[in-house]
Point group: C2
Chain length 308, copies 2
């Protein structure tokens, strides 16, 4: 059957969804992206993206989001504002229900709903996000050469980020609210080898700066209520990440943490349902990997539709 | 061990290699790319790249190559001119020997040597490449809306490309030198369903144009020597592709066609050797997928070096 009358719907308008959209519309498939807020996804949380290939001087997350969005729109893609409540795969066509009751139908579904970073919820966190506060060492570490960095968290990711950041930072603190780390012994040993200074039983109270950039983080010792101030140019918050999968409700295979399991074609366990970007289980969560997976998901969806 | 004294070497300076380079140097790893000709790889063969996310109006292959190259150089990456003859994995360090006898050593090796398109070797083919002559339907099909297209080839890829191009083309010919197709019955049936006009037992003699764009393709019936002229705005040459793997000499696992087999971390069968881009077995061969894989390969190489 021809793909002309077939429709692909993409949930999520971040880099994975927009790249999938570009490839899908360009392949002649009627395509819609359902986006909850603003197209761009987690790119919008990033002041400067330095490692997306093709922008030698870096590009602001907002600008890159706008570029990808207008590229998608130029080819004739549609963006539907909507907050997906649940998806249904009973019939040949997939059904997507929004929280306001509207429904969409699609012949192929691409899930690109991303993930959410857990936040501390303290003063200064939102204000300085992208201005010293970061949620991604690989993305932003290189901006802190010779600077002081505080990493907050106690799991594997936090320890990995702290160790990684020692290659840039003049001084690296790792701050954790408990009196020991949950992370593996191997990583705890790496911490010592890389001279990360650990601060245990300490809860971040607020992040302070001069309005432009972060200057220090204020901690409270949770056993003594003593207040501590650590000078820091960067605060990396690594207290967890969770995939945005509430609407999936177990209808495709997920790993224990909830990330969608795909094969190298970006196919999920459900025929005609594909996934890409931060919502899938993979090894590197970056704009460029999300885009590559989005393109692959769209190509696989297009093949699926052609063979329908 | 710290990655500071460790070196990653990348073979190939196309999008996969440059993206790997950006991620590798930015992670603080000493990194060199060995490039035979000019950084950019197959991007340099493409007049306009319309589907690399982030360039809403498209970008010339040359410009995108230059941007990725200067991004890599800005972070402190090195480019070595050299034509790799063979790689050796006996010791802990990998050895790379060039055709002129020079040698390089590396702790981690990333193979991003791409693939080569088989060419017809006829008059007009090189002259009009990027000006109507294309080697990639997914890349360039959308430029030929409402136009006449001739696809040349008889294998699965050629038939897939012809079927794919019917969604854009007003008229689509498929030209093959033999009197039957090697491709699957399913695809041959698709050809009919999509009204692709097949021209069998015909050998392309030359591609003609007005200096700016392709106008027609001249064929010779190989049984009668009769000459035929087909008006065409686009000529898609799909007579095969081969990975650039001569220097590997069976030292990592390859599929029967020679493409390197990797897992989702871009690890090959050899520890410390990674691969990405057009040289690997995968589902979609595009600049953006190459870049995503390059980033992933570099992240995996960095983890490998950190754990050394």
């Amino acid at each position: 059957m021809n793909t002309e009358n077939k429709k692909a719907t993409i949930i999520g308008g971040g880099p994975a969804g927009l790249a999938a959209g570009v490839y899908s519309v360009r392949a002649g498939v009627k395509t819609a992206i359902i986006e909850k807020l603003f197209a761009g996804g987690s790119m919008l949380l990033t002041e400067k993206i330095d490692n997306y290939p093709g922008f030698p001087e870096g590009v602001s997350g907002y600008e890159l989001a706008e570029k990808m969005k207008s590229q998608y729109l130029r080819f004739g893609g549609e963006i539907i504002q909507g907050d997906v409540d649940e998806v249904f795969f009973e019939g040949v066509r997939k059904r997507i229900r929004m929280k306001d009751g509207r429904e969409e139908e699609a012949d192929a579904l691409i899930i690109a709903s991303g993930s959410s970073r857990k936040k501390l919820g303290i003063e200064g966190e939102d204000e300085y996000t992208g201005k010293g506060v970061s949620f991604c060492a690989v993305c932003d570490g290189a901006f802190f050469k010779g600077k002081k960095i505080a990493v907050i968290g106690g799991g594997d990711s936090a320890l990995e980020e702290a160790v990684y950041l020692t290659r840039f930072a003049e001084k690296c603190y790792l701050i954790h609210r408990r009196d020991e780390f949950r992370a593996s012994a191997y990583l705890q040993n790496e911490l010592k080898k890389h001279s990360v200074q650990t601060v245990l039983s300490a809860v971040p109270e607020r992040i302070e700066g001069d309005g432009k950039t972060v200057k220090r983080v204020i901690l409270r010792r949770n056993k003594t209520d003593e207040m501590l101030s650590f000078e820091a140019d960067g605060v990396f918050i690594s207290i967890g990440q969770k995939p945005n999968v509430e609407f999936i409700n177990g209808k495709v295979e997920q790993n224990p943490a909830g990330y969608i399991v795909t094969n190298y074609k970006m196919e999920t366990s459900e025929k005609g349902v594909f996934a890409c970007g931060d919502v899938i289980k993979k090894t590197l969560y970056q704009v460029v990997t999300a885009c590559g997976e989005g393109a692959t998901a769209a190509a696989s969806a297009e093949k699926y539709l052609s063979a329908m």
